[in-house]
Symmetry: C2
Subunit: 339 residues, 2 copies
């Protein structure tokens, strides 16, 4: 067997799996942002007929997967594995979604890195010969995340300018052993990097060093340069984290500024929408990937994209116990060509 | 490429990866139980010099992985992927452990099914040609779990007889593309099954239907019968869940009673140790596998084992919102032969 490893953190997929469909559902605020035309569905309110925000988040995942299946002309029983995760304690959004879908299920936790993590494991599972079709999905919900990680919304606390706005939304992708692309060609898996940031209202700074580590190792492992990509897009670094990442990568000899963007920046019109440092949450890179990136790849206006979802791996308990906030970043190359 | 799928939920590994080492570390109570001779290390107290139980749990994982590496005569940089998860919110035990180890890291959440989940993904990653060595680890801690899922210990609530005792401990395994076994030969991945149980003090009943589903599908997919195994061992069903599983499997035509045991039953002398319905937690199947099962496989007194780690996928929030407790069970066949 050919070992598919290249370098220290990357694998090159031998028969690059094809992302044959995606679906994205977002909340009302995301549906007023600049990417609104790219989303498959925009909710009118943030409960969607459910009794709680947590239950709404689970429904977001379920409906996103079902919509992606419909888009792929597949049914639930065609899917060999479901890879999903979210931000809530014990990833209840994902598990209660998986209960409804009845697919063999691998629950993941990578905080906001989950979209790239699920695409990584999903693509490897197909390329390894274990599956024909997998579903990859993740979600977040502004209101369920705020009350879990920060304060009850009713408390009305003031948000500092470095804070980000958790996306309400879910993005799903169906990955297949056959199809015409876009293809997952490389997977670079992140290590946990901790720069000592302790400010829970500055996630961008906490995650940036992990993004730098994964992106620079991706270049070293693959031999690619920033010029090889039409777009290098991170998950939810926001304005603070994107600047840090750009600066630190320059110090390592990689100037990605020409092709660099961030899902959390793209999704809102920040001044008008009062979202401070950018969007965030598992759902952020999920809906921007499933909506904007995927559709631009299909159109051919993008041909090769490096998606790096970034996660902050803390909990309120770890913060209360004085711990810093480590980050992780997972990257996948998504290309219209199998090379 | 040969597709390795057999049946609906199982894959047969083409070049079965070898579990080349394990390590297990347990708390004082587990160290007084009937399996004490099998564990590599027994703590004298449940803080191990740390400031909190949560930090102790993270150290348990870290030291278990390091010990397994030493046992395998490997170093941290030899490991291509770390697969781990735990019960704590945002799996902080695993993420803070991964921070110390500096390995490419896939965080998992499968509640107490995590040991088999990590072995499943680890073995598939190796068999798929993506890795030479992976580390699989999980942990739980009685005191961190009690205060998160139930009550502060200081409250001193009375425990009903169907309740289980969360294991303090961590079990790690190093899985390799080469080696002399024991080998991971089959992986059967569970679906989320919900029988409507709402009693958070009866995890065995909540998880049993998932165990039944995975075990019966394993038999259907592989053509194996209970006679093909020396031991079929579940994660933490305890006395209540084990009886339900046995009964329901009989109704499906599988009498596993001759070879069936449960990690949560084996780990304590329940009457003397006052542990009610059995041990539980991610660490339960992890330390019983890494300690007892693995060492008996090496001795040859066991030759073929079906390990089914079982998880309850609820959170305090989902329970407060009136949800039932769904379960999941992941199974791996571990055999001294590659067949």
């Amino acid at each position: 067997m050919t070992l598919k490893r290249i370098g220290t953190q990357t694998v090159k997929l031998e028969n690059p799996p094809s992302i044959i469909s995606t679906a994205s559902i977002v909340g009302p605020k995301e549906g007023e942002g600049p990417l609104k035309e790219y989303f498959d569905m925009i909710l009118e309110d943030d409960l969607w007929g459910q009794e709680s925000w947590e239950k709404c988040e689970s429904k977001l995942q379920e409906e996103a997967v079902k919509m992606a299946l419909t888009n792929a002309e597949l049914t639930e029983s065609d899917i060999n594995y479901l890879f999903s995760g979210d931000l809530l304690n014990q990833i209840i959004s994902s598990s209660y979604c998986a209960r409804q879908l009845s697919m063999p299920y691998f629950g993941l936790y990578g905080a906001c890195s989950t979209m790239a993590q699920s695409l990584s494991l999903g693509a490897m599972t197909i390329d390894g010969g274990f599956a024909d079709y997998v579903a990859c999905v993740t979600s977040s919900h502004f209101s369920s995340a705020e009350r879990q990680f920060r304060y009850p919304l009713e408390f009305g606390n003031q948000r500092p300018f470095s804070s980000q706005w958790t996306i309400t939304g879910s993005g799903a992708a169906i990955v297949s052993s056959t199809g015409n692309g876009p293809f997952v060609t490389y997977v670079t898996t992140g290590k946990v990097i901790d720069a000592g940031i302790k400010d829970v209202n500055n996630m961008g700074a906490a995650m940036a060093p992990a993004a730098v580590d994964t992106i620079s190792n991706h270049f070293k492992d693959t031999g690619y340069t920033p010029d090889d990509y039409d777009l290098i897009i991170t998950g939810d670094l926001g304005f603070v984290g994107k600047d840090i990442t750009s600066d630190l990568l320059k110090q390592e000899g990689y100037d990605i500024s020409e092709v660099f963007n961030d899902s959390g920046i793209k999704i809102f019109a920040h001044k008008e929408q009062d979202t401070h440092a950018g969007g965030s949450g598992c759902g952020c890179s999920a809906v921007v990937f499933a909506g904007y990136v995927y559709k631009e790849l299909l159109k051919g206006s993008l041909n090769k994209v490096l998606l790096i979802s970034t996660g902050a791996l803390h909990s309120p308990i770890s913060t209360q116990q004085g711990e810093s906030i480590p980050g992780i970043a997972h990257a996948v190359t998504i290309s219209n060509s199998k090379e």
